[in-house]
Subunit: 197 residues, 2 copies
């Protein structure tokens, strides 16, 4: 089932959601149009399922592992490294990506579906902000506003889906190290004598 | 003329580019459909003009003032502060924004127009990267990859168009200070004894 979403996501990113027909998706997946409708009742539903698939991945690969980490600094690192990995592992040389769909195509959802997706996004933003709040309480955070800090971090990470190409000069591991270094440098105080890798 | 683009940008951000008709735009602008076609030959052309308008604003309000600053650290600050200001000044409580169109709707352009817009974006990325390169030569930059650093900074700034609302808790000046603090903290070495505002 993941394969259908992946192929649909690819074609939607190339053509834009509104310009993509169920026929295009069937062609991209390599099955008949009837076959597509067997799996997916319609385009709006497909968009919601793609986003749900993206949010499920975020939950499994970023949110759940992060919640298992008690120390807020280590949890912040876990969030950054795992989220960067989720994005770089899904990136293609052409730059289409689940992440851009989840982020960009919210207008195409029904109101009920939009509420569900936005609710799941909020859970993630809250996890990031709560982690920063704990770091502040420990005196490890710079004197920054928690909301601005949380969204600046997310912007840095999510923007990867626009510029990072696995066929480029930087390996996924290198780009993960770079983004982690810049993000932690921007958010944490130096004074703790923390090793900056 | 700016008013037509602003109204068109607003409706495109609400409905999505493909779902927006010239009729919708005429309604939003408050003129007849014939009136719209008098100004704009078609939707693809409108999209290009909106993006050109956005890139003109970036050039006038960010790139030109930054090029006038010889010192790279001050130039970096100028870039951040002016780009944040450009975004926050265009933000609306509903979150539609020229920035999101310029960033998200590139797929809707003709190939020739896409080349022109991408060329202008590259000029800006090069300005940011060259500024970081000068800071590296002066020993003021952290040990970070210049490309990863340039795009991390841009991600942080551009993401503002998604989350910042002028009707929220943070004033444009506050959010500018916060983003500047986080960005410079992430990019510059502390050792220079630079005051962190």
């Amino acid at each position: 089932m993941g394969e259908i979403y992946r192929a649909a996501a690819k074609i939607i990113c190339e053509k834009g959601y509104d310009a993509t027909s169920m026929n295009d998706i069937a062609d991209a997946v390599g099955i008949t149009k009837a076959g597509i409708y067997h799996h997916i009742p319609g385009k709006k539903d497909l968009l919601f399922r793609i986003m749900t698939f993206g949010m499920d991945s975020l939950e499994e690969q970023v949110i759940v592992p992060a919640r298992e980490v008690a120390d807020p600094e280590l949890r912040l690192r876990t969030i950054i490294v795992n989220h960067v990995k989720l994005i770089t592992s899904r990136s293609t040389p052409q730059g289409y990506n689940f992440v851009t769909i989840v982020v960009d195509e919210v207008a195409g959802l029904t109101a009920a579906h939009r509420r569900k997706i936005n609710q799941r996004k909020r859970v993630y933003v809250d996890l990031v902000r709560d982690t920063l709040r704990e770091l502040k309480a420990e005196g490890k955070l710079r004197d920054v506003d928690l909301t601005a800090a949380a969204f600046s971090l997310l912007g840095m990470i999510l923007w990867l889906s626009r510029w990072y190409s696995p066929s480029g000069r930087l390996s996924p591991e290198q780009v993960s190290r770079e983004v982690t270094k810049i993000a932690l440098g921007g958010l944490l105080r130096e004074s703790a004598g923390r090793p900056r890798r």
